[in-house]
Amino acid sequence: MAKVKTLDDLRKMKDELKSRISLRENSDNPESLVQVKVSMATCGIASGAKEIMNYFIEEFDSQNIDAVVTQTGCMGYCYAEPTIEVTLPGEKPLVFGNVTFSKASEIIEKYIKEGELVDGIIPDNYETIE
């Protein structure tokens, strides 16, 4: 892809992006997307949540996975940062703790792509913050 320098460039890129997205089914419906929320309070940032969030963005972009990556606040698991919440379409959200790059890659390859559970899930009846 060409470099995006200005808003005009972004407008041009948008058409290319749109054609890529519209090839996939139900892309307008956020429920059909994989949602990843990265806990980014002081504790998360200090443990490298920013790098993990970047990693997910890079991987989803390069592998063309239908997903949105957003930030969230502290989920209360400061001891297990970086913490992420993954919601697969039609599934309940799962929280993974101590997410390193290799754990993130495992989560993408096994859980997000295959639906197979991986170690590191924080088992709790917790509710999404924000």
Binding site: K3, V4, K5, T6, L7, D9, L10, R11, M13, K14, L17, K18, R20, I21, P30, V38, M40, A41, T42, C43, I45, A46, K50, M53, N54, F56, I57, E58, F60, D61, A67, V68, V69, T70, Q71, G73, C74, M75, G76, C78, I129, E130
Partner: protein, 180 residues
């Protein structure tokens, strides 16, 4: 916090939690005074004067998931160790302005960090809030508004990973490289 970019993510999260819909992030670089000023302004719920005095206490937080709140105390520490200062202006219902000044020639000043990636993560990671990012150095100003990006995207979610990468590129190519 290892760099200023991390503080920006941290303090803007406070604004998001305060229910803000519009958050301004501004960096001013004053070359002659070797002064860096970071301003984060929101239209969230704000706080009263008593709370302003207490927020830089690490054991004060409004959240219930834990008992400590280190974001502002860390920012205060990093600003003050360069001879700078932290100031907070707020009115309940009006929003909050957090200003931190740094002497960037001071040996204890934290680096600027990955500003471009941070701006992208903040804008893309909080699709329901709008952000205005400005960086001013002497005469030159670079400004980017997430509302403009959303308009340009014409329906594509700003939280799309490809969009996050584009925003980072956009800030990167426009950001003054000699700022560090």
């Amino acid at each position: 916090m290892k760099d200023l970019a991390m503080h920006i993510i941290d303090i803007t999260r406070n604004s998001v939690r305060a229910g803000a819909s519009l958050i301004g992030i501004r960096l001013d670089v004053y070359k002659t005074e070797k002064l860096l000023k970071m301003t984060i302004k929101d239209n969230g719920c704000g706080m009263d004067s008593e709370m302003i005095l207490r927020v830089t206490d690490p054991f004060v937080t409004s959240r219930t998931t834990r008992k400590v709140g280190l974001g502002l105390p860390f920012l205060k520490m990093n600003a003050e160790q360069t001879g700078g200062a932290l100031s907070i202006q707020s009115q309940p219902g009006e929003g909050t302005v957090v200003t931190a000044t740094f002497d960037y020639s001071h040996i204890d000043c934290v680096p600027l960090g990955d500003i471009q990636g941070t701006v992208a993560l903040i804008m893309s990671g909080n699709p329901n809030q709008d952000f205005e990012f400005e960086i001013c150095k002497d005469e030159s100003v670079f400004a980017l508004k997430s509302t403009e990006i959303k308009d340009a995207l014409d329906g594509i979610s700003i939280a799309n990973p490809s969009v996050a990468k584009m925003i980072a590129e956009m800030v990167d190519t426009n950001l003054l490289s000699d700022l560090q």
